[in-house]
Amino acid sequence: MKMVALAYGFIWLAVFSYVFIVSRRLGRLNGEMDELRRRIDRLRP
């Protein structure tokens, strides 16, 4: 039972950790897009 719980637990942990990493990247991308919007607004006459 211990080995099964460890194996299933590790797989879920790995998948959710990856989802967390990708969501952090998405957050950074949103920040960069906001910065782009600010730069475009500054260029507008």
């Binding site: 080995m3 194996a7 998948v15 991308l29 782009l36």
Partner: protein, 231 residues
């Protein structure tokens, strides 16, 4: 722009919901599946281990396909496909390399044996790790090197798959799925389907992230030029 993104988002949410539902059904089927006579409960690791191994191979093949498109056709989208798939290969490869030894400890009495299937799988995973590291820290010049590395990784796939046939191996053979009982077989295929759907969801998110990042870089270059002209 909202008209373009909304259908994509709703399609994505539908796929994510379908994946979650598939996992609920698969986990119920695994719980209900009969216990294997000789190994007992520890055999249930198989229902997650084999789909992860399949996704390791799928990720490597997609990574190699994208790398071929980039190396020989100069395809930027192929390169984005490759880098997205490589990360998933590392994640699911790690799952294979951890869940396998946990089963092996119960079945063989040791976590690891330096036999053909395990060693070639470890080699495949290390090549994908090398690909990801080259892309992360190698800069623009490492893109072609990483793509070549992905082709080497793809060459390792037949070695991994056929290793149990061509070499003396204590790893269960590739025909183990066909020997499963009816209750076990259904649970296995459901789990494989759920994991493949999960892979597709994660791959879609990762590819969208990579595509958006490439667009941001292009826009930044255009904005730099426009700002120079204005000043």
């Amino acid at each position: 722009m909202p008209n373009q993104t909304r259908p994509t988002s709703s399609r994505f949410l539908a796929l994510a919901a379908l994946t979650a539902a598939l996992f609920v059904i698969a986990c119920n089927a695994i719980a209900d599946a009969p216990r294997e006579i000789t190994m007992g409960l520890v055999q249930k690791i198989f229902y997650f281990h084999v789909p992860c191994a399949w996704l390791l191979m799928l990720s490597t093949l997609v990574c190699a396909g994208g790398s071929v498109a980039y190396l020989f056709g100069g395809s930027e989208s192929g390169d984005r496909v490759a880098v997205s798939a490589s990360e998933l290969g590392v994640v699911f490869g790690l799952c294979v390399l951890v869940s396998g030894p946990l089963w092996a400890k119960a079945a063989w009495g040791v976590y690891w044996q330096w036999e053909a299937r395990l060693t070639s799988s470890l080699l495949l995973w290390l090549m994908l790790v090398a690909y990801v590291l080259a892309r992360r820290y190698g800069g623009a010049s490492a893109r072609r090197l990483a793509a070549a590395l992905a082709l080497f990784a793809a060459i390792d796939i037949p070695l991994v798959y056929f290793s149990v046939r061509f070499f003396r191996s204590i790893h269960p053979s590739n025909t183990v799925v066909s020997t499963l009982g009816p209750g076990m077989r259904g649970a296995f295929w459901l789990s494989l389907l759920a994991f493949t759907a999960l892979w597709w969801v994660l791959f879609s998110i990762r590819l969208a992230t990579e595509t958006t990042y490439a667009r941001i870089v292009d826009l930044e270059i255009l904005l730099d030029q426009a700002e120079e002209k204005k000043s």
